[in-house]
């Protein structure tokens, strides 16, 4: 489990995927507070108004309305107060162009959304184990 003080912001418009992630967090006994924004615009607002206070990390979907994940990342990386936040992409997009764009904006990882809930649990466990090694 990552340090209890770290807040996690999930930027995701699909309610089923939000639910899957919440359930997977529960199965992995991850107790960090999880915030949800349905698109990049709302996510930026939650970060800038410190609704999601530091320290924080972001799990980011790419295909969203109003502002997609790459657009959000571009703005995040240009914001002096937000640019250092670690971002983990979790998306259905297997397009190489999306991976290139995301890594060029220095995400810490790019994960394909698992197709089954069991794999969601495993995927979140992998993330959790990695986060437990990281100092933020």
């Amino acid at each position: 489990m990552i340090h209890k003080l770290v807040n996690i912001l999930l930027v995701e418009d699909d309610e089923v995927d939000v639910m899957n992630l919440k359930r997977a967090f529960k199965k992995n006994n991850i107790q960090n507070e999880l915030f949800v924004a349905g698109n990049g615009v709302d996510a930026l607002d939650m970060l800038r108004t410190a609704i999601v206070a530091s320290p924080r990390i972001i799990i980011l979907d790419l295909n969203m309305p109003k502002m997609n994940g790459i657009e959000f990342l571009e703005i995040l990386r240009k914001d002096e107060k937000l640019k250092s936040i670690s971002v983990f992409v979790m998306t259905t997009s297997n397009e190489d162009s999306d991976k290139i764009d995301a890594y060029n904006l220095n995400v810490a990882g790019y994960i394909l959304k698992p197709l089954s809930f069991e794999k969601f649990i495993t995927s979140v466990a992998t993330l959790d184990n990695f986060w437990s090694l990281c100092e933020m």
């Binding site: 790019y110 992998t126 990695f130």
Partner: protein
């Protein structure tokens, strides 16, 4: 991760020996390259000994004596061919200024460097599991 290169920038011989053993024991299938300092590292990235393919992952002890890690990462982030490399800082020296600088340069992880065998295996086993579960791009723009 098979067929990919990992560049380790570190000059602690004991740690490097243990890391090599741990890589082998955890079954990491990437090819390891080593640089003792930022100059050697740059030579492997954009100099005479440029690696092909370029590493997708780097592990750097930014606080080790003789390694100007922050300068190196800054140069990498400014280079269009290198900027997307996943960089993990692994260090056991507390230097908050360097840590902040590294996080501002969007390192993928900032981790404590273990020395015990068990702890090193745990570290690389966890990293290997993580690397096997994330996607990498096949080329750079």
């Amino acid at each position: 991760m098979e067929g990919s290169n990992i560049l380790i920038v570190d000059n602690c011989k004991t740690y490097i020996e243990n890391a090599v053993k741990a890589f082998s024991e955890t079954g990491i299938q990437s090819t390891l390259y080593f640089a003792e300092n930022h100059i050697e590292a740059w030579s492997l990235l954009q100099g005479d000994q440029k690696l092909s393919p370029l590493p997708k992952i780097m592990l750097i002890d930014i606080n080790a004596v003789g390694i100007n890690g922050i300068d190196l990462i800054s140069k990498i982030r400014l280079d269009s061919e290198l900027k997307s490399i996943l960089i993990f800082v692994i260090s056991n020296i507390n230097n908050n200024e360097n840590k902040l600088a590294a996080l501002n340069l969007n390192v993928a992880g900032y981790m404590h460097k273990p020395f015990g065998n068990e702890e090193i295996i745990t570290l690389f086993s966890t990293l290997n599991n993580y690397w096997n579960n994330i996607e990498f791009s096949s080329k750079s723009k």
